[in-house]
Symmetry: none
Subunit: 284 residues, 2 copies
DNA sequence: AGTACAAAGAATAAATTATTGACGCTGCCT
DNA sequence: AGGCAGCGTCAATAATTTATTCTTTGTACT
């Protein structure tokens, strides 16, 4: 039980000196942090031993024990978010860094909301499957290439064969090698690049599984896809929005990645081995 | 600032004994309540004075001060209401997604802690300057290439001329074209790739400004650099740690990027124009 | 090799905390 | 009224805990 509540409840049964101690703590709980039992006694003009006895009567082992509990109580009272609650929605005192962080969190949460765990698991399963009996194709253009490249690297570290392209010509060529059991991951923020759509359609004709990663808008690519991951990220500032998009997308992909890792021990082992090998190569 | 986060953020820089103390506290924070500094020392088989020094290095007045802060942190963590129902951080009731999100936040916060705003501003200024009267060279190998590439793209969108390489040969060649007023951004998680160090040294000889982006460890690259950005991210799971690293690093770079954008209206205009042009190109 | 420096521990000083015993007060019983 | 039991307070002091100093050890850098 909170020491503050305890003090209040016992207050009536206390002696005069004890009551003074109790009242002081109730009113100056936050000061207690820097008070020794002696200082507290001085502040009240009483003896140090009275302070200690007070704490013991309340059931604590001694003064430091009570002090610790009061600290907990205070921390619990201002429910942790004091630093966050104050500069809440775009307050003026908010630093740019904190603001950015908050916006990112919002985007990530929004994105998490529109991608049910079921969908994410389905994507992970599909990729896992393709990693066993097939290939994983990945494509993204422009900025999307960055995300595609990133994810492709992660997958190869897991021992999943990935074919990563960043132009439509090559991917068109590669796609002709695709068949059932393969997966194509298309990264396209707006989901309406004609060439990508064309490739996607072609890929589906060859009975491959299509996974799209786009904004949460109605768009042709997403419509084509067997499985669709969608991202939500908005900001009025043109230089902020891409950051949010990336963050939310990254978080989404990380979720898939973790599922892949946790699915099978063998994957984890492969990853570890690969990481070590790379480490060695980079630090001779 | 939560002592637990602080410990995590400093972990890289700690000596072996200090790290043991830190890890013990991170793992047994709730036990600390009943431990004196001597008992803690015994539990770890080290001297009591080492424990005290540990607390002081972290910026606390002494052991009791740290202990009090840890108490607060724990109290804040289990949000006051459900004392036992919701077990502390990392409990089994927590979904993987939420857990990952929390770990990321911690890494980002720790990273923010160890990079003072002043340092970030200095980096932004240096890049901005180079964007006007010079060139910005960027290099990263392996996974670091992803981050380097990402940032390079962002810079070019801002109208800053960037030379991005992902192998040492090319960069070596390019570096010979460097001079005063130029900036080299080196991405290297562990900061001890010999070739990168060599290039960096060479670049500095040519009077260019060197900016390193590494883990928060003492490492050669960071030592060489005029300006150093550092990242803190840890997890016992080998497949989680890279995600945290990336997240924290990304957040750091985003901070720089935002500063660059906000510094001058002209940059914002360039960005806008570029985004539009790209948009058109991708969606004819 | 030699020096400089940092880190850890042992010893010890300082501080804080807990206990003891003395003193005084109040209330109550004879 | 006198005396005594019980409680509360405090000063003194014992015990514990914490902080500092100093020495040793190991390590990195000439």
């Amino acid at each position: 039980m909170s020491p503050l509540v305890k003090i209040r409840s016992e207050r009536d049964r206390m002696s005069a000196v004890e009551r003074r101690v109790g009242d002081f703590i109730l009113e100056n709980a936050q000061l207690l942090r820097d008070y020794s039992s002696q200082q507290l006694a001085n502040a009240l003009g009483i003896s140090q031993s009275s302070v200690v006895k007070f704490t013991q009567k309340l059931g604590y082992k001694g003064y430091p024990d009570l002090k610790y509990s009061v600290g907990e109580a205070i921390a619990r009272a201002d429910n942790g978010d004091a630093p966050e609650a104050a500069p809440a929605a775009g307050g003026p005192g908010e630093s740019p860094a904190e603001n950015l962080w908050r916006r990112k969190s919002e985007a990530e949460e929004a994105t998490r909301l529109i991608n049910p765990p079921k969908a994410i698991r389905a994507v992970a399963r599909a990729i896992d499957q393709a990693g066993r009996d097939g290939k994983v194709f990945i494509i993204g253009l422009g900025e999307d290439d960055i995300y595609a490249r990133n994810f492709a690297l992660r997958l190869s570290l897991l021992g999943i064969l990935t074919v990563h392209d960043f132009d439509t010509a090559r991917m068109t060529a590669n796609a002709s090698a695709a068949g059932a059991g393969d997966v194509l991951l298309v990264f396209s923020e707006h989901g309406n690049h004609p060439a990508l759509c064309k490739i996607s359609r072609y890929f589906r004709e060859r009975r491959g599984k299509l996974i799209s990663v786009t904004r949460h808008t109605p768009n042709p690519l997403r419509t084509l896809a067997d499985l669709a991951l969608v991202v939500s990220a908005h900001d009025e500032l043109p230089y902020i929005q891409p950051l949010l998009y990336q963050s939310a997308l990254q978080h989404l992909l990380d979720g898939v990645f973790v599922l892949l890792c946790e699915g099978h021990d063998s994957r984890g082992a492969t990853l570890l081995a690969n990481l070590e090998r790379i480490q060695l190569m980079l630090e001779p």
